[in-house]
């Protein structure tokens, strides 16, 4: 009896040590985000001002603001959404509501996994080969947005499919038994109950695409442009590429300028992400069934 307790105590000590180790690892994993955020705020916070946001870069991009890059990112992300959201939602509806368990469905799922896993630079090569050259869009907002859209497609599909599948099957069966068509069931019952989950996915997509650099580098984003794009066939500056440019390609940049750009970019991305997470938590708490 005494021995058993002794052994038990020993076991709990071992457990305590492992637990501590895992806690330390978790903290060490998460700590960098906080350190990085702090450093970006400390070193880049001073650069952010109204002029920074509203003016063109000046003097070989060593002075002035980042307005055209900021606007360009908004253009690229919005246009990418226009392409990827309808397509992604359709794909998710097909997979969740129509697809039978067969080889084709498995092929589609495998394609989605791989679409998400293909390196961003390969997406860039695809964008060059397909949109810039083959479809003759040239290096343009259109080509870059299409590239981004295909890259982001899995995000929309996965988020949408998950929220569609969280709608209980019993609702569908009840509708079908009333003579509702598949589409009537989807439109009137499934989609309205999944829409917030879909929105969460779209916000997440915004956050992902806003930070992408490699896919737009050769398809439509330019290092520097002294004017704003006038159509989707023009090139544009972008915030993510601008960070790359001012931190690696331009000499004599004052230190706080790239930090400011990085802070702005990460601010946008994390805000969107936090929104998406907050939205998700809120939804989980007010579930109707």
């Amino acid at each position: 009896m005494f021995l058993a307790t002794e052994l038990n105590l020993q076991n709990y000590k071992v457990q305590g040590r492992w637990r501590l180790l895992f806690l330390v690892m978790t903290v060490l994993l998460i700590l960098p985000v906080l350190v990085i955020l702090t450093l970006l705020v400390v070193r880049g916070g001073g650069a952010i001002s109204w002029e920074f946001l509203s003016e063109f870069p000046r003097n070989g991009m060593t002075e002035g603001g980042i307005f055209p890059a900021f606007l360009g990112t908004i253009f690229l992300v919005s246009l990418a959404l226009v392409f990827s959201v309808p397509l992604g939602i359709a794909a998710a509806i097909y997979l969740s509501e129509y697809a039978a368990d067969n080889w084709l469905t498995r092929a589609i799922n495998l394609a989605i996994i791989n679409l998400a896993g293909v390196p961003s630079i390969v997406h860039a090569l695809f964008g060059v080969g397909a949109f810039v050259l083959f479809f003759k869009f040239g290096t343009s907002i259109l080509a870059a947005s299409l590239t981004l859209a295909i890259m982001a497609l899995p995000v929309v599909i996965v988020a949408t499919r998950e929220s569609l599948q969280s709608v209980p099957q019993a609702f569908r069966e009840a509708c079908w038994s009333l003579g509702a068509t598949r589409w009537q069931t989807i439109r009137r019952i499934v989609l309205p109950n999944a829409i917030s989950g879909i929105l969460t996915g779209i916000i997440l997509e915004v956050s992902r695409t806003a930070g992408e650099t490699a896919p737009i580098m050769f398809t439509g984003a330019a290092f520097f442009l002294p004017f704003l794009p006038e159509s989707v066939y023009d090139q544009t500056m972008a915030l993510s590429l601008h960070l790359f440019v001012v931190s690696t390609q331009v000499p004599n940049v004052p230190e706080n300028l790239p930090y400011g750009v990085a802070l702005l970019l990460i601010g946008i991305v994390l805000t969107m992400n936090a929104l998406s997470i907050g939205f998700r938590v809120y939804l989980r708490n007010k579930k109707k069934w």
Binding site: A100, F171, A174, C175, S177, L178, G179, A180, T181, K288
Partner: protein, 257 residues
């Protein structure tokens, strides 16, 4: 719509087989359901009763791997030749074991089917909703909260809501699948009264695991056992012991199942 003046059976089923993959769960069922009768189906779990209902309103279309063979005629028309299955299902109301209130208001739950069939007129919808809820013995309880969520009603109320919903397209056939599983005894009795009333205007298939419920309600009763239709007979005869098959007597006397 349907010419019911002729004395043809509502359902005429010949040699029906249902299988999932290589697993046959219902074999060689032949029976018919007459106008204005309550047709009881009893039998232990996994006897193929639910799949039988699914075959009738052609839900096999939505069920992975489900296959049916044989003839099912609805008012003399072969349902396997039906082109628009949605219109077929509109002729048949279904009530599931567990009440499924759609995530809509009480009003919209009942108005759902008429709406998708193209009824837009508000007063017409109002009439349908009141009429169906009244016939399902629910109107008095919910008339003041038609706009509250259907899924917030109690289990017994939700089950009556699904009956009202099933009635909303004036079906010729109402199929109930063990409707009383999640319903208290008092509500069960109320629903049974509702069914006796409804019999005047349509036919009812009542799948039940309660032998006494079949005895109380059904005009004729069939026993399904392990995928086989053992016997069909007048309910009172079966319960008086005038069975043709010993297994029926055994089941009715509660010796198994």
């Amino acid at each position: 719509m349907i010419d019911t003046s002729q004395n043809i059976p509502v359902l005429n089923i010949r040699d029906l087989n249902i299988s999932y993959g290589s697993n046959t769960i219902l074999r060689d069922v032949t029976l018919n359901v007459r106008p204005n009768e309550i047709f009881g189906i009893i039998g232990p779990a996994n006897s193929g009763k639910t799949s039988f209902l699914k075959a009738i309103n052609r839900m096999d279309e939505f069920t992975d791997g489900m296959r049916t063979e044989g003839l099912i005629e609805f008012y003399g028309y072969d349902t396997s030749k039906w082109r628009n299955l949605y219109s077929l299902r509109k002729q048949m109301g279904v009530v599931f074991p567990l009440p499924v209130g759609l995530p809509l208001s009480v009003y919209e739950n009942v108005a759902f089917a008429p709406r998708i069939s193209g009824v837009r007129n508000k007063s017409e919808l109002d009439d349908i909703v009141e009429n169906c809820l009244t016939r399902a013995a629910l109107w008095d309880e919910v008339k003041d909260r038609l706009n509250s969520l259907g899924s917030l009603l109690s289990g017994g109320q939700q089950q009556r809501l699904t009956i009202a919903r099933a009635l909303s397209q004036k079906p010729k056939l109402l199929m109930l699948d063990e409707f009383s599983i999640a319903v208290d005894p008092v509500t069960t009795m109320r629903i049974e009264d509702v069914l006796r009333d409804l019999k005047k205007e349509l036919s009812i298939i009542l799948v039940t695991n309660l032998v006494q419920q079949a005895e109380r309600l059904a005009d004729r009763t069939a026993l399904f056992l392990n995928g086989e239709l053992v016997e069909i007979g007048q309910t009172n005869e079966l319960f008086d012991g005038r069975t043709k098959d010993q297994r029926t007597t055994d089941y009715l006397e509660g010796r198994f199942g």
